[in-house]
């Protein structure tokens, strides 16, 4: 199958996943009603009387908003993971390698304890702080790597990222200890969830993810070249330092926003690139978008399972991604290595 066709398939699959997520939930809403509700909200078609307002809000505000947010977060994480693995030339590199999630958690913790809120941002002060702190941590980690090793090779970044992660986590532990009344909030913030996050989260995350993906696509050639090593990429004409900074920043922004808005959810950024590379080859022109779509679908499905499997209770979505992700990944990875 041609790669173009594969991309189209993923797009269709993504659409189907969103439809599935809209139809499945704790409340039984017949599919015909779901369609009418979505048509009403999206196209303004009139809603018939016998569809209760409750059903309508459940489908649109509780399920669709949540599914869209999950899709965006999954896409962001998967795309970011792809870039990290390529730039760091390490198949186990993840978007969390550079310390983004620790930094974001620290930023959020500071806002939680101080109760500080910017008037313009309101309740989005918290995710904004998380995102900024995450980006700052990455900036520091990469700068340190660049100081230590002029070409900031993959391994150096992994090491400095780890150092910063550990350091920031230690700070977090201290803060959680000294501000015990907020400990719970701080810890819970880190746990990934899409519950009770309304459409405004989607509106904010959407442009970040789109711009990020576009920037990554723009550099798909450079990404290909970088996988052969920085030196080789440089002698073939890539401005490696500039391009690497840019790519790592985009990856950090994508992961940072996913974490800032939804908490830390692992695994998707690790397995999506592997699965997609097996299927589409290594060319980033295809791997980046297909990865993003795959990550999105996976996250939507994982969230769907998390919120329905022990209804009315809810499982943490991070547990689901790991539980499904690990064996799935093992199967895909080792199947090839017969």
């Amino acid at each position: 199958m041609q790669n173009g066709l594969k991309l189209l398939t993923m797009l269709i699959l993504s659409f189907l996943c969103l439809c599935l997520a809209a139809c499945i939930g704790s409340v039984a809403v017949p599919v015909s009603q779901v369609i009418k509700i979505v048509a009403n909200r999206l196209l303004g078609l009139p809603l018939s009387e016998n569809i209760s307002a409750l059903n309508a809000t459940v489908v649109w505000n509780l399920r669709m908003a949540r599914a869209c947010l999950a899709f965006l977060a999954g896409a962001a994480l998967a795309a970011s993971g792809t870039v990290m693995q390529s730039v760091l030339r390490n198949p186990l590199a993840s978007s969390y390698t550079m310390g983004v999630s620790s930094g974001a958690s620290l930023g959020a913790a500071i806002i939680i304890i101080s109760g500080f809120s910017l008037p313009i941002l309101g309740r989005f002060t918290l995710p904004a702080a998380g995102l900024l702190a995450g980006l700052l941590t990455v900036f520091l980690a990469v700068s340190l790597a660049a100081k230590v090793d002029k070409g900031f090779s993959g391994n150096t970044i992994i090491l400095t990222g780890m150092v910063f992660s550990l350091f920031v986590n230690a700070l977090l532990t201290l803060i959680a200890y000294f501000f015990q009344s907020h400990t719970r909030n701080i810890l819970l913030w880190q746990m990934g969830t899409f519950a009770l996050k309304d459409w405004s989260y989607v509106y904010l995350l959407f442009p970040i993810v789109m711009i990020g993906l576009i920037l990554l696509l723009y550099h798909s050639r450079e990404l290909d070249l970088l996988t052969f090593g920085e030196e080789q990429a440089a002698v073939m004409g890539v401005e490696t330092t500039k391009v690497k900074w840019r790519l790592l920043s985009v990856a950090a922004a994508l992961t940072g926003s996913a974490v800032a808005f939804c908490g830390v959810i692992g695994f998707i950024d690790l397995i999506a690139p592997h699965v997609v590379r097996r299927w589409c080859g290594a060319s980033h022109r295809w791997v980046v978008p297909v990865s993003a779509l795959f990550g999105g679908c996976f996250m939507v499905l994982a969230d769907m399972v998390a919120r329905t499997i022990i209804s009315p209770s809810e499982l943490p979505v991070g547990a689901i991604t790991a539980l499904i992700g690990a064996p799935f990944f093992a199967y895909i990875y080792f199947k090839r290595r017969k």
Partner: protein
């Protein structure tokens, strides 16, 4: 074509290359040799613009440090040693990447007919056209080296730098490689600098030979003379010439 003057460079604080001055003319095949650790790879990297340096490296009169990456790539190509972490690019795609600097920037980098033609030509020359769709992770060391060679040619440089290009190749391909390089070099404005361990090959095809020892030039001149110079025995610790001659006798 290439001029090095009082070149000093290295990694971190240590200088690996000390006060090297060289001149390389167009049309020449230069063999760079010396014991392990004498700085051959470092010198190649410096010429390719990968390392900061003190002194001058002038390519066609322009200082390498001042050239932009694309300009450097258009003129100088470096084939490094084969490493082991690669993603599953196909042979074709890998070689096509060598055309990067000729493509336009942007979302839909167009692969022109010219690009495709050059890739096809170079793949045929290294005998890998039949496996063009195979992932490079499934190739043998020798095949992989030929892929990178094709990619070097596809870049259409004026100076080719080779770091031990014959490592994984069997004899047939070694000789073919040399022939190809010789032919390539005959066109105007081209030169080749290769790091070779096999001094037989060096003797066979190099015009100029440079012996490096501890980062400095110990000998520099016509290949035949340099390779038979007694200093080579000193630097390497064995009498290469008599060893080779003895081996040759065994063939008769």
């Amino acid at each position: 074509m290439l001029q090095l003057n009082h070149l000093n460079c290295g990694y971190d604080t240590e200088d690996v290359i000390r006060d090297v001055s060289l001149q390389i003319e167009a049309g020449k095949i230069v063999c760079l040799f010396g014991p392990n650790g004498c700085g051959k790879t470092t010198l190649l990297k410096a010429i390719a613009g990968l390392l900061p340096y003190r002194g001058t490296i002038r390519f066609a009169g322009v200082e390498v440090a001042k050239m932009k990456r694309r300009d450097l790539a258009a003129n100088i190509a470096l084939m490094s040693q084969v490493s082991d972490t690669y993603f599953d690019y196909s042979v074709y795609d890998t070689v096509l990447l060598g055309r990067y600097l000729y493509g336009s920037k942007g979302f839909f980098p167009h692969t022109s007919k010219a690009d495709e033609e050059i890739v096809r030509q170079c793949l045929e020359e290294v005998d890998l056209w039949q496996v063009k769709d195979q992932p490079i992770t499934e190739l043998s060391g020798g095949q992989l080296q030929r892929v990178f060679l094709a990619r070097t040619f596809v870049q259409e440089p004026r100076l080719i730098l080779l770091d031990e290009p014959t490592n994984h190749l069997d004899l047939k391909y070694q000789l073919e490689l040399i022939e190809r390089l010789r032919t390539w070099c005959q066109r105007p404005g081209r030169a080749v600098i290769g790091v070779l361990h096999d001094l037989n090959l060096a003797l066979q095809f190099a015009d100029q030979a440079v012996l490096l020892q501890a980062g400095s030039v110990a000998l520099d001149g016509e290949a035949k003379e340099v390779l038979q110079n007694p200093m080579v025995t000193e630097v390497f610790g064995i009498d290469i010439k008599s060893y080779m001659q003895k081996s040759l006798l065994k063939w008769q």
